[in-house]
């Protein structure tokens, strides 16, 4: 496999991993939502991310052309082979934490997938054209929630502020390019993520300001997801996600 094809394969898998890990986390809210409508909303957003992961993994399998399918990629890789941003794998915490994370990711995804619709790779552009519509919808919802929570009661304000304080340093790696990503940017296939930070920051500043929340100090940052270095949480997530396929190898739905 030539190096550009290998980079494309890694790229699709990394994007799929972002979607799958977050989709899985959101699915954990099923029957635990604060009220019925919100329970449905969280699980519907979860489905959007899992669907996105399926498209990306299926395409990765096609690029690789070694007989692996989407299920093999999702279920038969261990932590070190997962390439998602760490923010996606963090446990849900309380509802404020889940929505604060969602806002940070949705604001990133809207800029990212908008860029990816222009990809020279037709399949990535097609996947992005679907994803961008969903992400715009997600962003509107997470913005609404953060404004309600931040500008809500003392307790909701305090919990939401605490969530952003705990999450802020996880944003840094969303704007750091992986080692083999630049060649895809040069080929017009990938999005230059380092260029997305300004727009992301401006969205975050305006939403948090309206929500009467403080922008956390940028005094720490953590990364490593794109290199396969994860928090302790991913192993537990994969244990649940992959249990059935590991116990009954080759099971089909």
């Amino acid at each position: 496999m030539d190096s550009q094809k290998k980079a494309l394969l890694n790229y699709c898998i990394a994007l799929g991993d972002d979607s799958l890990t977050l989709g899985h986390r959101l699915s954990e809210w099923c029957r635990n939502g604060p009220f019925l409508e919100e329970d449905l909303a969280l699980t519907n957003v979860s489905l959007d991310f899992i669907g996105r992961a399926r498209m990306l993994y299926s395409y990765a399998a096609e690029v690789e052309d070694q007989g692996r399918g989407e299920d093999d990629i999702a279920y038969l890789r261990d932590c070190r082979e997962y390439r998602n941003f760490l923010i996606n794998e963090l446990p849900n915490g309380d509802f404020a934490f889940t929505m604060a994370r969602q806002l940070m990711i949705d604001a990133f995804d809207v800029g990212f997938y908008k860029g990816l619709t222009q990809s020279a790779d037709e399949m990535l552009a097609a996947i992005a054209a679907k994803a961008i519509k969903e992400s715009r919808y997600h962003l509107r919802r997470s913005e609404d929630w953060i404004k309600r929570l931040g500008d809500g009661t003392d307790e909701s304000h305090e919990r939401t502020q605490k969530a952003f304080d705990q999450l802020w340093g996880y944003a840094a790696e969303m704007f750091e390019m992986a080692s083999d990503e630049q060649q895809l940017v040069d080929a017009g296939i990938a999005v230059d993520r380092s260029a997305l930070k300004a727009e992301w920051s401006s969205t975050m500043h305006s939403v948090l300001k309206e929500a009467t929340l403080d922008i956390p100090a940028q005094d720490w940052a953590i990364g490593g997801g794109r290199e396969g270095i994860h928090t302790e949480h991913l192993g537990y997530l994969l244990a649940e996600l992959q249990y059935l396929q590991r116990t009954y190898p080759g099971q089909q739905w």
Binding site: E122, M123, A129
Partner: protein, 162 residues
């Protein structure tokens, strides 16, 4: 195996597949929904192209199987049902007939995707009042949002426009 009649045309196949409905909104056919994009016959093999609505819509698999069943039942043996992502599905593709069927079924049809996404223009499918309130961005499925009519107080699903 039944050889495909020379006379089978794509028009007949469109007619045949127009009986296949959305498993979650059974009043809508796949054609009403804009999911059925193309049918062609190449060397006796029927190629049906469908496009997914939402990326994670669990109904897509069922739609595919229902199409295959309809083709088999009509005696066709050689066919492929493939999914095409591009151009991305839009609720603008829903037919006027489909919109009317949705309304009669109690679901407010999607506005045009150029709409500003606020509640403006959405009408209660029961009493046609435009005094409606959004309850949740998501309803019983990914494609719907939950609203309530302020006049007749009836809660209803709105088919989101994307």
């Amino acid at each position: 195996m039944v050889a495909m009649s020379e006379k089978t045309t794509t028009d007949q196949l469109f007619e045949l597949l127009s009986s296949v409905t959305d498993p979650e909104i059974p009043v809508l056919t796949l054609q009403d929904l804009g999911v059925l994009r193309d049918i062609s016959i190449d060397d006796g093999v029927i190629n049906v192209t469908i496009t997914p609505t939402y990326a994670g819509c669990p109904a897509m698999q069922t739609m595919r199987v229902d199409i295959e069943k309809a083709l088999l039942k009509a005696g066709h043996q050689q066919f492929n049902v493939k999914e095409s992502l591009s151009p991305a599905w839009s609720t603008d593709w829903m037919t006027p007939n489909g919109r009317e069927k949705l309304r009669a079924y109690g679901i407010a049809p999607p506005l045009k995707s150029s709409c500003d996404q606020s509640s403006g223009g959405i009408e209660c499918p029961q009493c046609n009042s435009s005094e409606v309130k959004r309850i949740s961005e998501f309803g019983s499925t990914a494609c719907k949002a939950l609203y309530q009519c302020q006049r007749c107080l009836e809660p209803f699903d709105y088919f989101k426009c994307i």
